[in-house]
């Protein structure tokens, strides 16, 4: 074991950094502002001079604070990030540069429409690409993320059912392998949820689904490729059965990146699908967002699209902002402030134009090739959950760890010391101890080979026996060892308070 004790507590590039509140130098600021003009104030009796408690720092201190924090993060720019279902592909800096053009960054959603024609054109152009790539006639641009896009799709579906006298339908069917947002979204839309089992081949059990279809079912939500990284081969039959039962077919498009340029989802019988621009179209994840979840809609659902939406007329573009009138007569209403995630749209279109349709098709091909390469090479020691070719991601179960005392979590934590971000763990729920890996198309063969070598070595080490303790001690080289999540949840400390106040509050809460 390396001796890591230093006087400062720092370890070379890993520098311990206090909270900004603990760095307060009192009264200083990193922003110099001009003096205010002398005027009569008009704040009524709402003015407050009570201290807020914000710390004051100078600019160099602030820049150093965040630079040090940044160095405690793993990122795509740092290395391989095979987090399954999350599509951690390279984020081109050109997208950032384009989003910062004053003509995109310094415009207001409510400036006169005649002065924002470029903004509407950008939204319309991106919408055109999304509609063409999916073959769908309409797209709702305002959803802010994947889960929000799901909600948009289900709100369109419920509104359509109500318009067609089918409002009594109150059930949504979701496969047990689905991401948690699917059932959570259905519940927010006022639906009950029943789950559909999977077959041994990792696909939706179509017979079990058919048995659940009834005049009570509003929609079936299916992720395709599914969370096991497999294409739902019976997708078209599923769509036909769903439609025959009078329900709509929602496809979760989180994994659309595997299909771009290969198949149009309209040709699979889909009624609605959200597209995660922050996955498929490479806008940065930013440590948790923002994203955007435009939702493509079939002809049956197009009329119920939320406001606002852009329309093209003889005198240029305009935006329809109010439901219940004109082109938005049947719109279900508004689900997001202003014009949606415009800054994300700029980045996505910048990526799409750079790739072109030929590049996008190549990208889905390379993504699937990389995943299959991992599948084949890792199968030397790991146990794939399903046989045969996978799509953009591959899932292994933990049977290769049987009787070793080592868990999926332990392998993931050991990978951290190897310099890789772990894969998604314990998801999908239908695979025991799942290790779900999505390499994406922006990784080189050399990177994949390094990762494969590390993971195979870890698997072999686990299988040697008597290694559980070593694994449980991982990671050792990261900025932190394993953190106590149980304590964090049992005695939540969710904010900084002046010395000892948190301790008192926590004690009080515990009592």
């Amino acid at each position: 074991m390396i001796n890591t004790i230093t006087t400062s507590g720092h370890r070379a590039l890993q520098i311990e950094q206090p909270l900004i509140f603990e760095l307060d130098t009192g009264g200083s600021t990193a922003v110099d502002l001009p003096a205010a003009p002398k005027v009569r104030t008009r704040l009524g009796d709402l003015r407050s001079d009570k201290p807020i408690g914000l710390p004051g720092l100078s600019e160099p201190e602030v820049v150093r604070h965040y630079t040090r924090l940044s160095q405690k993060n793993y990122s795509i720019d740092t290395g391989f990030y095979p987090l399954g279902s999350c599509t951690m592909k390279h984020n081109p800096r050109l997208n950032e540069k384009m989003a910062r053009l004053p003509g995109f960054a310094d415009i207001h959603p409510y400036q006169p429409q005649s002065t924002a024609q470029g903004a509407y054109e950008l939204i319309d152009t991106l919408a055109h690409w999304l509609k063409t790539l999916t073959g769908m006639p309409a797209v709702a641009m305002s959803p802010a993320a994947g889960a929000h896009g799901e909600l948009c799709g289900l709100m369109c579906i419920r509104t359509a059912h109500e318009a067609n006298g089918q409002g009594a339908r109150k059930l949504v069917l979701v496969p047990e392998s689905a991401h948690g947002t699917n059932p959570a979204t259905a519940a927010l839309c006022g639906y009950r949820v029943e789950s559909i089992p999977a077959t041994a081949l990792g696909r939706v059990d179509i017979n079990a689904m058919k048995a659940k279809l009834s005049s009570d079912v509003a929609a079936v939500m299916i992720t395709n490729p599914n969370t096991c990284g497999l294409f739902e081969t019976e997708c078209i039959e599923i769509a036909q059965a769903v439609h025959a039962a009078g329900a709509y077919f929602y496809m979760d498009g989180a994994n659309f990146n595997a299909l771009v340029g290969r198949v149009r989802i309209a040709d699979l019988g889909v009624d609605a699908m959200h597209i995660n621009l922050h996955k498929t179209f490479s806008t940065p994840h930013g440590g948790g967002g923002p994203g955007a979840g435009p939702t493509v809609l079939s002809a049956a659902l197009a009329a119920f699209v939320p406001v606002p939406f852009v329309v093209r007329g003889a005198n240029g573009f305009s935006v329809v902002e109010h439901a219940g009138t004109g082109a938005a007569q049947k719109s279900f209403g508004r689900m997001k402030g202003f014009q949606g995630q415009f800054g994300v749209f700029v980045r996505a279109l910048s990526y799409i134009l750079a790739m072109g349709v030929d590049g996008l098709r190549q990208a889905s091909g390379d993504a699937v090739l990389n995943a299959n390469y991992l599948r084949v090479k890792l199968s030397a020691e790991l146990t794939p959950a399903f046989d045969g070719i996978c799509m953009h991601e591959v899932v292994f179960d933990d049977s290769f760890l049987k009787n070793t005392g080592v868990s999926t979590l332990d392998v993931a934590k050991a990978l951290i010391d190897e310099g890789f971000h772990p894969m998604t763990m314990y998801f999908p729920l239908v695979v025991h101890g799942a290790l779900l890996m999505e390499p994406t198309e922006t990784e080189s063969k050399a990177t994949l080979d390094q990762f494969i070598a590390s993971l195979l070595a870890l698997a072999r080490k686990a299988k040697q026996g008597d290694q559980a303790e070593w694994f449980k001690g991982s990671p050792r080289l990261a900025p932190r060892r394993r953190l106590d999540e149980i304590q964090a949840a049992r005695k939540p400390v969710l904010r900084w308070r002046k010395a000892d106040v948190n301790a008192a509050v926590t004690k009080q809460a515990a009592e």
Binding site: T41, I52, D77, Y110, P183, G287, P290, Y373, Q487, A488
Partner: protein
Amino acid sequence: MRYLPLSDQNRAEMLGSVGVASVDDLFADIPAAAKAKAKFDLSNTMSEMEVERVLSAVAAKNLNASQAPSFLGAGNYRHHTPASLDYIIQRGEFLTAYTPYQPEISQGTLQAIYEFQTQVALITGMEVANASMYDGATACAEAATMACRVTKRAKVLVSGSVHPHYRDVTATALRFMDMNIECLAPDPVGIEDLIGRVGPDLACVIVQTPGFFGHLNDYTALAEACHAAGALLVICVAEPVSLGLLKSPGAMGADIVVGDGQSIATPTCFGGPGVGLFTTREKFIRQMPGRLAGETVDENGRRGWVLTLSTREQHIRREKATSNICTNSGLIALAFSVHMTLLGEAGFRRLAELNHAHAALLADKLEALKGVKILPTAFFNEFAVQLSKPAAPVVEALAKRNILGGIPVSRFYPTYPELENILLLTATEMNTEADIDILVNALKEVLS
């Protein structure tokens, strides 16, 4: 294609390893008939400079606020962005990281979220804040549904002071959850009676300060009335810079405070992405939506942070979760937090003073004009004015003079003819006295 590292030789080797002849063979599971229809009339790959040329031409079709004095607000505000802020949020370790699910290698993001939660709680005067929502409007909807869960009631009252998008998004959410909402008419004069409407069936009352039309209200008495009736008070803050100068919603007795951090975090960006702020009282944390970072220790006893209380969230609770939110607005929350750190208490207060002074200066100069009446007696950096003629054509006429001269309220409320002459004007630290004079002189001409 420059974003794709595999060479043809790599591909050939890898296909050999996989045991297929071509990449197309990897897509054999997709029905052939569907694949055959996949023809696209779209452009092919472009060089970096071609993309820049195409998109710059599109951007040039917009009149941006660096080219024209701008007095637009209504929930989306133009403030100065310090250069170091944009540098920090473009660091790849922040920009290209995912949600911090692996805390050992995500302490940067987690500590920043914890600092963000603390800052948001401090400025709103509340006990706890979450890691962010999409925007102010969706945060407001989440507040309404949370109030229904907490009180086990199903009716929400929305004041006419609330931003119409916050109101509409909330109405959409509640309608699909089969709950009731009553929205009061827009209230440009600031006379609505809320206390008289509080009753035992209400889950919450939603108000906004500064109000959509600019009014400043002390909601302390309303909070007391809500609590007496077993209801919650939700206060929206669409312009958080105001919190540098005004009595906090927490001090008024709010139970949930939501808002949009855009004004502090990012340029206007045509309205998105923003960052939803969400705060509440400690006793309600298990009913809160969204992610939370919490403090803990590692195996060596060193302080660190993790995402916590996730048993509220969709990936654990599925259909019983408090919300379906997953991706939030992490990077914009970071931008908000960095700017707040740069400002500090002194800078935050000074920024708020400067905003109010510019708006008051604008109001002073407008009051000298005929045909302009300022509606709120107390305001922060934005106020509604009643013009002698319809506001929409006035704004168009100002745009022709290269001035982004406010927002006609009719664009938000097309079905209220009595609001036709009302214009919303904002002045921030970005509006110099020279800008203000340009607007006032042009308005004088347009109104005459």
